[in-house]
Amino acid sequence: MHSIADLKKGEKAIIKDVSDNNIPIKLLEMGCLPGNEVEIIQLAPLLGPMYININGSHLAIRKETAKLIIIDKLINNE
C-alpha cells in the first residue's frame, strides 16, 4: 500500500483512501478526497514538509500526515 509520502518530486497519483482519523478535516475540505489527483511539486530538505497540488489546491503537509493518505497507483511520468 502506497501513501503520498512514497512519491518523489514531480510524481503524480490518485488518492484512494483518507479515512484515517488523524487526517485533519481541514485537509479534506481543501480537496484531499478519494479520486482526486495529487502531484508532488517540491520536497523540503531533511525530510521536511511536502508541497503538493491536489486538484488545483496547492498545499504543504508534513511527512507524517502524508503517510496517512493512501494512494491508488502511481501515474507513470514520462
Binding site: 483518507v18 479515512s19 482519523n21 488523524n22 485533519p24 478535516i25 481541514k26 485537509l27 479534506l28 475540505e29 481543501m30 480537496g31 478526497l33 478519494p34 511539486i41 517540491q42 523540503a44 530538505p45 531533511l46 525530510l47 521536511g48 514538509p49 508541497y51 486538484n55 488545483g56 489546491s57 496547492h58 498545499l59 504543504a60 503537509i61 508534513r62 507524517e64 500526515t65
Partner: protein, 700 residues
Amino acid sequence: MNKQIKVALIGNPNTGKTSIFNSLTGLKQKTANYPGVTVEKKEGICRLDRGVKAHIYDLPGTYSLNASSIDENIVVELLLNKNHKDYPDLAIIVSDVENLKRNLVLFTQVKDLKIPTILAINMSDRMKYKGIELDLSYLENHLDTKIILTTNRTNRWIDKLKDLINNYNKLPSNKFMDPQLIDPEYFKNLQRTFPKQDLYKLWVVICQDANFTSVDKNFLDSSDFEIKSISELKRLQQKETIKRYQLINNILKLGQKVDQSKAVGFGAAMDRILTHKIFGYVFFCLILLGMFQAIYEWATIPMNYIDSMFASITGWVKINLPSGAMTDLLADGIITGIGGIVIFVPQIAFLFMFISVLEESGYMSRVVFLMDKIMQKFGLSGKSVVPLISGVACAIPAIMATRNIESWKERLITILVIPFMTCSARLPVYLIIVALVIPNETILGVNYQAVALMSLYIIGFLAAIFSAYILNMILKMGKRSVLVMEMPNYKIPLIKDVLYTVIEKTKSFIVEAGKIILAISIILWFLATNGVGDKFKNPEKYVSQKIELLTEDELQTEMAAIKLENSFIGNIGKTIEPVFKPLGYDWKIGIALITSFAAREVFVGTLAVIYNIENYDDSKGKRRELKNIMQQETDKNGNKIFTLASGISLLLFYAFAMQCMSTLAIVKKETNSWKWPAIQFIIMTLIAYIVSLIAFQLIS
C-alpha cells in the same frame, strides 16, 4: 429613513477578501477586538444609493464552518446566532476564480444557514491567463445566488455590487443541500429528537470543536439523543465534505470550462527557485538582510526629521508658554516621551510594510515550508517563523499571529519565546546607551556601535531559540502536531492594501504606547516634584558648601538635586537601590527600570523627566540634550554612572527582561490563564537580572 444593512464578508484565506473590504469602505473602517478574544474585528461603512448605509464586517478567513481555530470560530458563532447584534442581513462570499471548487464548499455551507448570499468571484482578471471560462447565468441558476465578477485591480464592479447589497431582500435564501443526503439514518434520527430545530444548524453546533467554541451545546446533553464518538462525527464530516464536492463538481462541469493549454503561469517557475533546497534559503536570507537594511539605514532619514521636529516643539513650548510646573511637565515629560515613540514610527512602518508585502505576495507560506523541519527541532512550527520575525517590530501582533499554528504545544512555545526577540520598544533604550558607552569608532570599516546593536539582535534571537528548545523538553503535553497550509498563488501586492495595513498598525502602536507614556509621565512627574520632610521643603539648609561660595547656578543645581533625592520618587528609588546596585545602576536608573516594566520605551522618557527636574536650566528653550546630561552623571564620589560595565549590564537587562504589560495581557488572553504570563515574567526577569549581574561584575 436611516436604514442600515449589515453585510458579512466571508471567504477562504488568500481570496483577496480584505481588498474587496478596502474597496467598499475606503478609510471609513475601524479595527477593534471581539470581546474576550484578541481576534481582530474589522468593520467599515459603505454608502449606497438613496442614503442607505451598509455596515461591512470583514470576518476572518475560513475554509469551512467546522471551526478549528479561534478566528474561524468567530465566523461560526456569528452566523449561528440570529440575536447577535452583528448578525448579517446578507453575506458576500468572496472566492478565488482559480480555486472555485474549493471556495464553493464554504459558500454552500453558508447558504444552508439560509442567509441571503452574493457570490463574488474575485481575481476574475486572471481568467484569461488560466484559460477559465464561466457560464454565469448557468451558475447563478444552479447555485441559486447572484454572482459578481470582481478584481482587485479595478473598481468597475463596485456599483453593481452596491446595487446588489441595496436590494438584498431580492436575493434567494434557499438551502443548497438537504443534510439528510449526508447520512439519512443519522439525520432522520436527529430531526426526530429535535423537531423544532433547523437540522443543518443543529449539525454545525454538534460539530464544533469544544476547544474553540462557546456555542451553546448544553441542550444536546439534556436530551436522550446519543452524540456519536469523535471518530464517528469525523466520518460524517468527511461524508458531508465529499457530498458537497460532488454537488459542486456536477454544477461546475457545465458551468465552468478550463482549458489547461491556455494557462500561463510563472508560479511554478518561481516555486522552483523560492522553495529550492539551496536557493530558497539564500533568497530568504537576502530578504531578511534587505529588511534590516531598510529598518536601520533608510529609516534613519525620516527619523532625524522627527527628532529635530520634536526638539523644536519642546523649545517652542518652553519659550511661549508661561514657565512653571505645567509647562515643564508638558515639555519634558509628555512631549519628550511621545517624541521617544514617534521617532520609531518610520522603523515600525517599514517593518509592517515588509511583513505585509511578504504575506500578500504569498511568499510567507514558502518560508513556512522551508523552515518547518528546522523549527521543529526546537519545538516550534514552520508557522512560528512569521511571528518570530514580526516580534522584531512588536510582540503583540506577533503573538496574535501565532493563531494559525495547529499544535497547541508549538503555539504556546512560540508565544512564550517571542518577547525575547528585539522589539522596536527596546531600540530607544539600546540606541541611547550604545551611543553613551560604546565608542563611535571604526575598525576595518566596521562601526563598533553597529556591531553592538547587531549583537543585541542576535542575542535576542538566540535566547528565543534556545529557550524554545528547553521548553520543548520540559513541557509535557499532547505531541500531536500537524501542518496543513495553503501555498497561495504569487501575487503582486496592492499598494492600497499594504498602505492600509501599515497605517492601521502604526496608528494603534502610537496610540497604545502614547497612553502608557502619558500616564506614567504624569505620575512620575508628580512623584518627582512632591515630597515630605525638611530636606525636601528647605533644601537650602542642606547644601554642601557655604551658600556664599556658590554661584546662583550652582546653588540652584544642588538644591534641585537635594529636592529630587528627597521627593517621593527619590525615596522610592533609594529604597530599591540595593536591588540594582550590584548591576551597576544608581537609583535613577532603578526608577527608569521599574517604570519600564509598564513598557520598555518609557525608559528614555523617565530619565528625561528625572534629569530635567534635577537640571536647573535658566536658558529657556536651549535644552541640553539628554545624552549629554547622562554622560555627565556622576555618583557622590565623582565616578561616571554610565560606564562600559553598567552600560552593557543595562543593555543585557533590557534584552532579556519581560518589561511590557501589554504583552503580558495579550499572553493572558491568548493562553486563557495567568499561569503562562506569570511564568514568562518571572523567568525572563530572573534571567535578565542574573546575566546583567554577571556582566557588570566581570567587566568592572
